[in-house]
Symmetry: C2
Subunit: 343 residues, 2 copies
């Protein structure tokens, strides 16, 4: 039996930007199960996480519209019937944002304005849930990090994601477009991009482990992170989208078990039964934008909507490894014909 | 006799973006007096504060390059010889930013990346002083506001100015481009745009008073602001540009006398000897992005570089009124041929 927030989506028209990507596609699968009318909008930007295989098995139960969300007229049309918009389209590579800050600006700022303007112009009753990121906090002053921590991003991506988030709150407060932001920490699980290593380390570590390669951990591996299994992240979006108490709010969505890189990798290798670990010095370009240890306090979100992550790290890694063991080839080819291997 | 930070500029090559504007031109005048080699870069965007009359009397002692700072190749060339860059180019109208968020994004985000990329590519030894704004704080939790207050902007302009500021700190921290940000509160004085009322209220109030018109104050006028006379603001830039202790820092630059709108207007009318006041209800579009009372704690900047505002509010308003009485016609025409009167 589904609970209230799940029943909310039955026959409801929802849109997912970035819906062919990692979290977006997992969310789409959950929504299809709940009987929602799902519109996926994705730009298929090369080297993003977009992958048609991510909707394998549900492709005939969703509508897919390939489009760049920087196009105002396109978006004006697409948002028209949607009651809830899960806004997950974004450039998420910290490293790429430092190499090409303009591309990051276009995707993480201009596109977000475009979506919100489309709502204002064509569908002001839509509700928008934005995929924010812990990256906006930068290096934490203290742990765990609450939403009252200063926003002090250490890379272009974090700066632009902070702006994108603020646009959502602004349109909520000024134009009455109901919106909130979920600041996700490290999300992992099936359907994550593992073709290259520029979208966070965990997907890359998973790939190395299951190919029985060496996982390189920077420094002594004592850095702490918290990890959210993707189904728990999707559940967070579902709860936020069905709730009115979230409007205008910012919420940390983090994992229950803060874990060091060292412990993560040893658990991963244990679960996979393959892979080795080696500790290496920090590469300067990564050290320059690193933030030290981080884990979030998610109690505000828990109190607001009752969210609680259900999948522990061992279980989540086990499912992740099993998924990629079965479907690895679909995650090594680039769907847009770009390079197979990281630069 | 000039003090050390003033002597620093003798024969030094400096660039001022937005140098035909209000603060930029006052800064240019101060720099010319100190013997600096001044390059003004301005895009002459219609309805901005750019005005050739602002450099009347120093036009033969500065170089002026009209250019859009969104052009990377242009900027790469222009920054090449500059030792200090005062980066004041910006869209500053909160109201305009809500009407055209894309223009604000281009000017306050893309242009800032352009300038910083130009430094990284062509002149990494330049030092950049960015004109930030108190607008990034949004509605304050408590007064006076320190730099540790959360950044929670209430309009598109504040969001984009926060991103622009963060780029500067990022390029300081990651790429070694020495940069800092001065978060200015309400700056006023000669050479401010008074053609329309979309760039802050104080210039507009000055114009109404000296034309013996009615000054409309929203609500009961109890809202508090702090005001910085433009020569004191220029002095803040000079001190920051000559100092190494500011690198990577954010500093409030606010006035010494927090003053209500009510008291400001009555002082203004008293000083001008003309004008009347009327209290009117808040227009909804302004109320929606209003932040209540605000005044800044500038002690961090004072401690860093010894800055102290020298010109009190009565004296500053007296000089301002005298300036516009003498030169009013130059501030009613649009230098770019746009409308004379506010929309």
């Amino acid at each position: 039996m589904s609970s209230d927030y799940q029943a909310f989506y039955h026959r409801r028209c929802v849109m997912i930007t970035g819906g062919l990507g990692f979290i977006g596609s997992n969310l789409a699968r959950a929504l299809v199960e709940l009987g929602a009318d799902v519109l996926i909008v994705d730009s298929l930007i090369p080297d993003s996480g977009a992958n048609f295989f991510n909707i394998d098995g549900i492709a005939d139960r969703v509508r897919v519209n390939i489009s760049d969300i920087r196009l105002q007229t396109t978006l004006n049309h697409l948002v028209r019937r949607c009651e809830v918009i899960f806004n997950l389209a974004g450039q998420i590579s910290h490293i790429d944002s430092m190499r090409d800050p303009y591309a990051d600006l276009d995707i993480n700022c201009r596109s977000q304005l475009c979506l919100l303007e489309a709502c204002r112009l064509s569908n002001p009753r839509a509700k928008v849930v934005y995929a924010g990121t812990r990256q906006v906090y930068g290096r934490p002053d203290s742990l765990p990090v609450t939403e009252d921590h200063l926003v002090r991003p250490t890379d272009v991506n974090g700066i632009n994601k902070a702006a994108g988030e603020n646009y959502h709150l602004l349109y909520n407060n000024v134009f009455g477009i109901r919106a909130c932001s979920l600041r996700l920490t490290n999300v992992y699980g099936p359907r994550q991009l593992i073709r290259h290593n520029r979208q966070g380390f965990i997907g890359w570590f998973v790939r190395l482990a299951l190919e029985d390669r060496e996982v390189q951990v920077y420094g002594d591996g004592s850095q702490i992170r918290d990890f959210v299994y993707v189904e728990d992240a999707a559940d967070a979006f579902l709860r936020a989208g069905a709730s009115e108490v979230c409007n205008g709010g910012i919420f940390n969505v983090g994992g229950a078990q803060p874990t060091s890189h060292r412990d993560l990798v040893s658990l991963l290798i244990d679960v996979a039964g393959t892979g080795t670990v080696r500790y290496v010095p920090w590469p300067p370009e990564k050290k320059a934008i690193d933030i030290g240890s981080f884990y979030a306090d998610s109690s505000r979100f828990r109190a607001a909507v009752g969210w609680n992550p259900q999948v522990g790290l061992r279980e989540g890694l086990t499912r992740t490894i099993a998924y990629y063991r079965q479907h690895l080839s679909h995650y090594l080819e680039s769907p847009a014909g770009t390079t197979l291997e990281p630069a």
